[in-house]
Amino acid sequence: MRSLSYIRAKTVREATEAFAAAGEGACYISGGTTLYDLMKLGVERPHHLIDIASLEGADRIDTGGDVLFFGAGALMADVAEDEVVRRDYPVLAESLSKAASQQLRNMATVGGNLLQRTRCPYFRNGTIGAYPCNKREPGSGCAAIGGLDRTQAVLGVSDACTAVSPGDWPVALTAMDARIQLQGPTGERTIPIAEFYLLPGKTPHFEFAIMPGEIVTGISVPKTEAGRRSTYLKVRDRESYAFALASAAVALAMDGDHVRRAHIALGGVATRPWRAREAESLLNGRAIDAEIALAAGRAAFADARAGKHNAFKIELGARTLADAIMTAGRKMQ
């Protein structure tokens, strides 16, 4: 049988050293909710698993300082239920509680969630023969283009890939200017989340700006009053336990009736968590009403490119964003 080694690391250093020593086929595992799934599908075939779920202090949640800090090993369920996060940053809490199921959120970590891979059915489906997929097998082509592309992306697509970035939490973090803390064999670094996710371009198999052996160790979110007027709206094919057809993370810093600064990101419609700068610019300095909210929604999709069956996502995405802006705007400071 295929052999698989497994060790449980206690410190980051122990983990990165084990990774380097293991060579080809090494893979970190934390909650396992994505990795085991991908292993069963044959998408991932690791030979060495290095368990980082119990790294010392990895599950730290600290909301007392200048930033919100979430250790990469904190459980999705624990962050979703944190009182400060729920009260002051509902966009973060809602993005977590609307993801997956309670059982999965009890296992999955907020660091691992950043690395979730696409739900593109052609990427995932190896049961009855792997389809051409540039992510799975670079250069093999993309079966989704010209195929059943109802759930594919309309923003950030390329001729090589239209796969949707699946997460909710990364969308909320993108809106809130989060920074990702990484630690690897050569030391520690912190990058803005905007630089963490890559566009597919000609190399859709590169999804994350993460070096071999690097571990996501933490996520920090700058504190902002916009957090209180925030929301995460997720529209999907059923009311729970499904990935987004369109989602919007919105946080608004207000001066009286006017938006001082809007934070907006979109999910379910783009190849990466999508910062909607055009929509933000349109709202900044303006009072919120249904008309401007929809205009902001439309602005966010000005550059959208639809395939055969997913053009509806352009209108749905715009209306979802408009609804989220109205919901956030109605919240009390």
Partner: protein
């Protein structure tokens, strides 16, 4: 017989199941068990040119890899597969170097562990020569059968339609759907006590002796089928599976027990499914809304090699008092595995099309949809002229309308608006399902200790058939439910009928009842005097007998004793809906309230009220549960479910429970269920008609009609998704 005794009793196997003690087919502890895994074909049609087993054979733990070279002796017989469709040759994968549909098994890897079997299966390399194929019935290469499968008519429908004051001419499309019972389909084959036992969570344990033995050239008496529990059947488990004979043959060749649990991703390609279908409905009515004519033409997808009948036309003409009727059902052949029965197999799609068309007619005539249906109520079948054994459909509609507060509905779409701005839509639709029965052989033993054993025909698939059998024994004999041993789904105990078509209760209840009545009579002879109120086992004890046994053959109405021999040989022998003196159907009315979010078009089904006429209600708890399950499936069909096929590849792309979208708890609002609860003693001595399938018939149409009432939009395909209403 009192209502209290059978009204609302827990399932007899509830604790066993909740505690995980119930052993399903794949749970059987068998020493030395080997594990199998199939290699699915990765092309939709063609020939196998070569299979390279080198890498797979080297996987540690792999015992043997079977290919078509090993199984060419397996005989495909009409009885073996597709037994409940039209007789045709059928097709058994792995008996030759051909591939007739994507995902069919092309190799079977058997190993000491499941992990080794999976890894071995992944390492098998197959080279194919691909051929052109058709994946869907709209494809140019799809073959339309020249002759209709079935036709029903009465009067001159064309002329009546042409001259009607109000005419509706519409086409509705129903997509492909998959059953997805939570218990995966598994087969375990083991030699025990000199016979080959097949453990399979099936609705047809007798199919093995009846079909599998023939396929393998075995003496049927040496083959025993055991289906201890079935974790949801819904029609997907009503025959021999593509895998069954492969696993059984592997066990024989290896002389060791072998188990295969087919993964869900493969089941979408090897097991049956509800085929895609198109329905043209024409309805003609006079000024008062009286139905003068119904014309109904359907087309249904089928495989190239088998015969799953197209019978959409069977129920719609029985729903109302049509002046004239003309229906025809055709099949179109494509390169897939054979579709089959999925809960309310034809009744659900046909009720969707025809009950939505009725809603369109109500609008054209300017009548309330409930009133239109009541005005066209019938007590005789327009096709045969026979009366119905019982029909309380108008009462279902009246009671449902009251419980639902139907009067608040406005004929003007979008007139009702919720506080949050959601548009509210209210819809109604009706359904029917044939009243069928099947023979049974029942052995009942009462022990002086109070223990009571019954062995009879039937399979427990979650519908509660054990509880129904218990209810009749308790009712007639007053036995202690704790001391009941109910042996079903096992050909070692009694011949087994296919438990499907909603005839389970209508067959098992009379069987248990007549055995219990006979046992009372026998005891009466022994005691020599009328039985007293004292517990029956104490009265038996006083005769100094440790045990009293009776065996009863129950022969359904309209059949003779020969039917018992058919049952023993595993030949389907059901009756209904047509009986010598009448037609028998169960009836139901569904009312649905949907709320539609104005900005995104999201639909939520807030409430459903369903009132059923299923004859006597045997157990209120399991009956309500059946109806709720059926309604949820109807909601799923309306708004969620579809098997997606990429015409370039064939097969089903969304072949898992994440992407094949079924409702979750958050999708389901209130479902209020009520029953007419009038026994139908014309049909059988227990007074029961079927419930399992009628429960979902019409539920989808009620939701679709409610969507129209909210939006003014007729969407004539399923599922209605967000992009349809945006």
């Amino acid at each position: 017989m009192t209502q209290e005794q059978t009204a609302d009793r827990p399932r007899v196997d509830a604790y066993e199941k909740v505690l995980g003690r119930a052993l399903y087919a794949a749970d059987q502890p068998i020493a030395g068990l080997l594990h199998g895994m199939t290699v699915p074909a990765t092309i939709a049609k063609g020939r196998i040119e070569a299979i390279d087993l080198t890498a797979a054979t080297n996987v540690r733990g792999v015992v043997r890899i079977f290919t078509h070279d090993d199984f060419s002796q397996i005989k495909t017989t009409p009885a073996a597969r597709g037994a409940y469709g039209r007789p045709s040759k059928g097709y058994q994968p792995m008996t030759g170097p051909i591939v007739r549909h994507r995902g069919e098994p092309v190799a079977l890897v058997v190993a000491e562990t499941l992990e080794a079997a999976i890894e071995g299966a992944e390492a098998v390399k197959v080279r194919y020569a691909e051929e052109a194929f058709s994946a869907a019935m709209e494809d140019d290469r799809a073959s339309r059968e020249p002759e209709p499968e079935s036709q029903l008519s009465s009067g001159d429908a064309e002329t009546a339609f042409a001259t009607a004051s109000h005419r509706i001419d519409v086409e509705y499309l129903h997509p492909q759907q998959h059953h997805n019972p939570i218990e995966l389909i598994s087969t375990t084959a083991a030699f025990e006590d000199g016979e080959l036992r097949i453990y399979e969570g099936t609705q047809a344990a007798s199919a093995f002796a009846g079909g599998l033995a023939g396929m393998m050239g075995m003496d049927p008496t040496r083959l025993r089928g055991v289906s201890p529990y079935t974790g949801g059947g819904f029609g997907q488990k009503n025959g021999i599976q593509e895998q069954s004979v492969l696993v059984a043959s592997a066990a024989i060749l290896l002389r060791r027990p072998v188990k295969l649990v087919m993964p869900r991703g493969q089941l979408f390609h090897t097991a049956s499914y509800r085929p895609r279908s198109r329905h043209r409905v024409r309805l003609g009515a006079d000024e008062q809304g009286r139905l003068l004519a119904g014309l109904y033409e359907t087309v249904q997808q089928n495989s190239r090699y088998d015969g799953f009948g197209c019978e959409h036309g069977a129920n719609p003409p029985r729903m109302y008092g049509y002046g004239a009727w003309l229906g025809s059902d055709r099949i179109v052949r494509v390169d897939t595995q054979t579709p089959g029965h999925q809960r309310a197999p034809h009744e659900h799609p046909s009720s969707y099309a025809t009950e939505c068309a009725m809603d369109e007619l109500a609008e054209a005539v300017g009548m309330d949809p409930v009133e239109l249906r009541i005005a066209n109520d019938a007590q005789r079948d327009p096709i045969t002229g026979k009366p119905f054994s019982s029909r309380h459909l108008a009462d279902c509609l009246r009671r449902g309308a009251e419980l639902f507060d139907w009067n608040r509905r406005s004929r003007e779409p979008g007139a009702l608006v919720a506080e949050n701005g959601d548009l509210i839509g209210l819809g109604v639709a009706c359904g029917s399902y044939k009243g069928s029965m099947t023979p049974a052989v029942t052995t009942l033993r009462l022990f002086a200790s109070g223990r009571c054993e019954i062995a009879t025909s039937g399979h427990e698939m979650g519908q509660g058939i054990r509880s129904v059998i218990a209810a009749e024994l308790i009712d007639v004999l007053g036995v202690d439910p704790e001391k009941l041993d109910i042996r079903i789904g096992d050909t070692g105990h009694a011949p087994q009928h296919v438990t499907a078509g909603s005839w389970g209760t209508g067959s098992a209840a009379p069987a248990a009842r007549s055995a219990a009545v006979k046992l009372r009579e026998e005891l009466n002879l022994l005691t020599g005097s009328a039985l007293s109120e004292e517990p029956i086992h104490l009265q038996l004890a006083r005769t100094r007998r440790p045990v009293l046994e009776v065996t009863v053959n129950t022969i359904p109405l309209g059949k003779d004793a020969q039917v018992i021999e058919q049952l023993r040989r595993g030949i389907p022998s059901t009756t209904g809906p047509e009986y010598p003196e009448f037609m028998a159907f169960s009836w139901i009315a569904h009312f649905a309230e949907v709320h539609l979010e104005a900005s995104t078009g999201r639909v939520r089904v807030k409430r459903v009220v369903s009132v059923a006429d299923c004859g006597r209600v045997m157990n209120r708890r399991t009956a309500e549960s059946q109806v709720r399950g059926g309604v949820i499936w109807g909601i799923g069909a309306a708004l969620r479910e579809v098997g997606e096929t990429d015409p370039r590849f064939g097969g089903v792309l969304n072949n898992d429970l994440a992407e094949y979208v079924v409702p979750v708890n958050a999708d389901i609002g209130a479902i209020d269920v009520d029953f007419i609860d009038q026994p139908d003693f014309k049909l059988n001595p227990s007074g029961v008609k079927g419930l399992g399938e009628v429960a979902m018939v019409g539920a989808t149409a009620a939701v679709v009609n409610a969507v129209y009432n909210a939006t003014g939009r007729r969407i004539r395909h399923l599922p209605i998704r967000i992009e349809d209403l945006l």
